[in-house]
Amino acid sequence: MSAGTQTAGPRRGAFRAARPRAGFAAALLHRLSGIALALFLPMHFIALGTALQGADRLESFLGLTHNGFVRTAEWGLVSALALHMVLGLRVLAVEWFVARERTALVVSACVAAGLAVGLLFLLGGA
């Protein structure tokens, strides 16, 4: 540890690959769902904007969305919105209320809640 000691660079990532952890998964899902919602919002506003040009224009645009791909994407977005919300609430609980959680259990519950909302969306006849 003298001044002249040769050191290799810091080792990175080795044990994360060996041990996937719930907190990491939560942050990743939070980020990805947030990006998905950020990408969706402009399209959503464009769709709403067509209403300004009359009901017919909006209806014709909505007609384009009546296919399996868009329905699946809608289900994904609803799930992502719910997931983003519950994972955000988890972060707020940890940071503001000093909640010492059982991370794996809480994150699993958050993911289950997000998927449950998506399921309700499907069952609601969307």
Binding site: G9, R11, R12, G13, A18, G23, A27, V91, W96, R100
Partner: protein, 261 residues
């Protein structure tokens, strides 16, 4: 790295080996993994295993330890993928299929084999203003600090850190952003933010803000889950986030007040 401790020999072991039971130990060295076989002994710790390998099989193996009782924090390594104190980790609790994989701590430069350079870790402690700042004119009288006051309790919650580097090695944000101050330095800063005697708060809050500071924490909770002292740097970092936000709002309000006055 070689403290003068009694040298166990295979002929006269300090603790009797369990007949017929052996432990396969993979150790990451400078040129890849090397495998050793060590006898199982009752109440054997990971540090016992590394010491036995170095004393009886390969004296060139480099590692670091001092107290052997969980006080100094110098023997931390990555054991089967988790950063741990090796002196307080029993082989029986972590061995998988009679095997162990030992690696140096993550996120720190490796000096040799299992010994890492702690210099960047302590440099960040300094960068986070981790030293008490009495100010130019320390008060003449003692500060009266009620033991059950919220600030004192917040200090108590984080003051027992012994700088072992386990949280730093567990932190993904340090891996992504090598400039990130890390959980230990930020935890230390939070204990000082709650010290009513300290006169360096403004500079400290500025030091722990920004891209390398508390706002970069993603709340993965790795530091809190891995801390051998059961401290919670995540909550300390959350406290710093609130304190820096409050400080920024105060500055903004003061500027607005000055402009409108």
């Amino acid at each position: 790295m070689n403290a003068p401790v009694p040298t166990p020999s295979r002929a006269d072991p300090t603790v009797e080996a369990v007949p017929g039971e052996a432990l396969t130990v993979r150790i990451r060295r400078d040129d890849g993994f090397q495998t050793f076989t060590v006898a199982r002994r009752p109440a054997q710790t990971i540090l016992d295993v590394v010491t036995e390998i170095q004393r009886a099989q390969d004296p060139t193996l480099a590692y670091r330890f001092a107290c052997r009782v969980g006080m100094c924090g110098s023997c931390a390594m990555t054991v089967n993928g988790r950063p741990r104190w090796t002196c307080r980790t029993r082989v029986a609790a972590v061995a998988e299929d009679d095997g162990l994989t030992l690696e140096p701590l993550r996120n720190l430069p490796v000096i040799k084999d299992l010994a890492v350079d702690m210099e960047p870790f302590f440099a960040k402690w300094t960068a986070a203003h981790g030293a008490f700042e009495p100010g130019d004119a320390p008060p003449a009288d003692f500060a009266r600090v009620a033991p059950d006051s919220p600030a004192r309790r917040a200090v108590d919650a984080g003051i027992e850190c012994i700088n072992c580097g386990v949280c730093y090695a567990a932190c993904d944000v340090v891996t992504w952003n090598p400039d990130y101050l890390g959980p230990a330095a930020l935890n230390r800063a939070w204990t000082l933010v709650n010290d009513v005697r300290d006169r360096g708060q403004e500079a400290r809050l500025e030091a722990v803000s920004g891209d390398a500071g508390c706002q970069s924490c993603h709340t993965h909770m790795s530091c809190t889950e891995h801390c051998p002292k059961a401290l919670a740097p995540t909550f300390a970092i959350a406290g710093l986030k609130r304190a820096t936000a409050r400080s920024a709002l105060k500055r903004l309000g003061a500027r607005h007040f000055r402009r409108s006055a």
